[in-house]
């Protein structure tokens, strides 16, 4: 593995500067700037948020429409020097079913410049690391979903890349495989590689790293440590939806309750916006009993990561027109419930809400 301590062309890093990518009229990625140094980085975002596009740009499969992406100081598209240092595990469950596991991984090693003999040795070792050594001579077409996933990971690291790009690598894996994969990823990150691990499942990242990037609607909406992301989850306003025959009556009763910041109506339900959903459940229950009302159900449609993305994107949209960084569309902490200073959404913000996504400021 290449030394990662220095800067310049040998630096092990991923750097994006105002990176944008469009597919026709659809903006897949907008104005993303970041700098990632060695270690594991979680790339979190809902489906269709631009995670795969970012990884494909970093892997040299796509060309940026605007801005620049540098991997170890080099533009990756069509650049063998950069590609030699990149390992990509794509999201799609696509493999060469006609080949055996060993053939596939050794051919990939040969394509990375190793001799046939060395490639076979590396392939065997890589397959062993992911627990596929017993199945190495079987055709990939006969592999289970988890085995296919591990074969993809084995080819990704067979040439000891400095930058490892993993697009939802745990899909379809059983707990034992998952543990093995996470251990191998950690080991490589500790050896000095940059590992960018994309997923939309928060616990997958939590098992691996504390450093995450949140991407939504093609924008990098936040970057920080996992506990800060958890904090954001707790701090953003939740929706509590109460289905009942008399929603207006219930709304009138809870309107002046502390902690409930907004009330709206949906079909057959009243929707309460609150910063403390647990207390709200309690209060609603008390009011219902006290006034003899009936309720059908109480739900909280957004108590998950998806809701956090939605919240951050809404904030970024709201901030885009203020003039501070209009046109860039970055998230900012302008509300009374701004995230803590360390949990960072991109862009300048009041209340000590400082960005960490600036190049060089977040890598190590």
């Amino acid at each position: 593995m290449t030394d990662s301590t220095g800067t310049g062309e040998h630096e092990v890093s991923i750097r994006a500067v105002r990176l944008s990518k469009w597919y026709g009229r659809i903006a897949a990625l907008q104005d993303v700037s970041l700098h990632l140094g060695p270690g594991v980085w979680g790339l979190l975002g809902p489906n269709g948020s631009g995670k795969t596009t970012f990884l494909q740009l970093a892997a040299g499969q796509l060309r940026p429409a605007l801005g620049e992406i540098l991997v170890c100081g080099e533009r990756p598209f069509g650049n063998p020097k950069a590609l030699r240092r990149i390992g990509l595990c794509p999201e799609a469950d696509a493999l060469y079913d006609e080949l055996t596991g060993l053939e596939f991984v050794s051919l990939m090693a040969e394509l990375s410049g190793f001799s046939k003999k060395e490639a076979v040795e590396r392939a065997a070792s890589s397959l062993d690391a992911f627990g596929l050594v017993d199945a190495k001579d079987r055709r990939i077409g006969g592999y289970s979903r988890g085995m296919r996933q591990r074969a993809k990971l084995a080819q990704c690291v067979v040439h000891d890349p400095d930058v490892i790009l993993l697009d939802e690598p745990l899909t379809g894996t059983d707990p034992a495989s998952r543990h093995r994969i996470l251990e191998e990823v950690k080991r490589r990150a500790e050896a000095g590689a940059v590992v960018l691990f994309s997923t939309h499942v928060l616990p997958e990242i939590e098992a691996l790293t504390d450093r995450v990037l949140l991407i939504a609607r093609g924008q990098l909406v936040a970057q920080g440590h996992m506990h800060e992301i958890r904090g954001l989850l707790e701090e953003h306003p939740h929706h509590v939806r109460v289905y009942c025959p008399e929603p207006r009556k219930l709304a009138a009763l809870v309107l002046d309750v502390e902690g409930i910041v907004a009330v709206s109506f949906a079909a057959g339900a009243v929707e309460l916006m609150t910063y403390d959903p647990e207390a709200t459940y309690q209060i609603v229950a008390e009011k219902v009993v006290e006034h003899g009302l009936e309720i059908e159900s109480i739900t909280s449609p957004d108590a998950n990561l998806e809701a956090l993305f939605h919240y951050l994107v809404e904030r970024s949209t709201a901030g885009a027109g203020t003039g501070m960084d209009a046109g860039v569309g970055r998230a900012r902490g302008g509300s009374a419930h701004a995230p803590p200073a360390a949990a960072v959404a991109q862009g300048a913000a009041p209340g000590g809400y400082q960005p960490q996504a600036t190049p060089g400021g977040s890598s190590s």
């Binding site: 026709g24 659809i26 596009t53 499969q61 069509g78 390992g87 990509l88 060469y96 990939m108 394509l111």
Partner: protein
Amino acid sequence: MSVVFRMQLRRLIRGRKLRLGAVSCALVVFAVVAARYASERDVGADRSIELASEAIAEGFSWGFFKLLAFLLPFLFTSAAISEEVENRTFSYLAARPIGRFAIALGKFGAGAVLAVGLIVSSGLVLHIVGYATEPSAMFEAFPETLRTLGALSLLTVFYCAICMLWGALTPDASGVIAGMYLGILEFCCSFLPGYFRCVSMNYVARQIAGYEPKGLLPETAPEIAPVIGVSVILGLTLFVVFFACLAVRGSEYRFAKA
């Protein structure tokens, strides 16, 4: 490039396409041989040789020039790139430091080698079985068969390049466009009168092989010297392969759809 070549060759050999190609070749050879021996009933030795020669010439003309020379390149190269893009396996190759020219050349080479290999081996089988009852004629006619197989090989490589180019340019519809190109410009135009049929390399290859022109107003079709024919097909092949490589090199192939 050799790694991509080996990889593609291995995949083709293990896949269904090779079996389909081999079955097509066997059917063509069987049909020609059956026709040749069905027509031979109580005829003298001279007539028998004449019948064999005619049957084999017609077999090459229709079974090889007009069928297998189109089918095999289409099978082995038209989907070489598009299949990988569609199956999303192209990203494994594109993420490796080999250069996209090498990817395109390796895939083209594997398809062309397999197509030419099948054509030549089938042609040799046809020659041997067709002249099986006349061993002396078998040796006498061998140079002519070799010339025909040489022209067929050249034509097959050119068609592989054409299929590769359309596959690289339009991966979403490579089969349809390559098929239309071969059907209209190569097959249909080879029957046109006058110089129009020079558009078709099929006609040029048949001229190299020494076949008489057929189709519409055959007497108006120009004669093409073998040296010129070989040069034209080779030059065009190199030109088309170069453009196919350029297409693969520059395209993103929509790896990640929005």
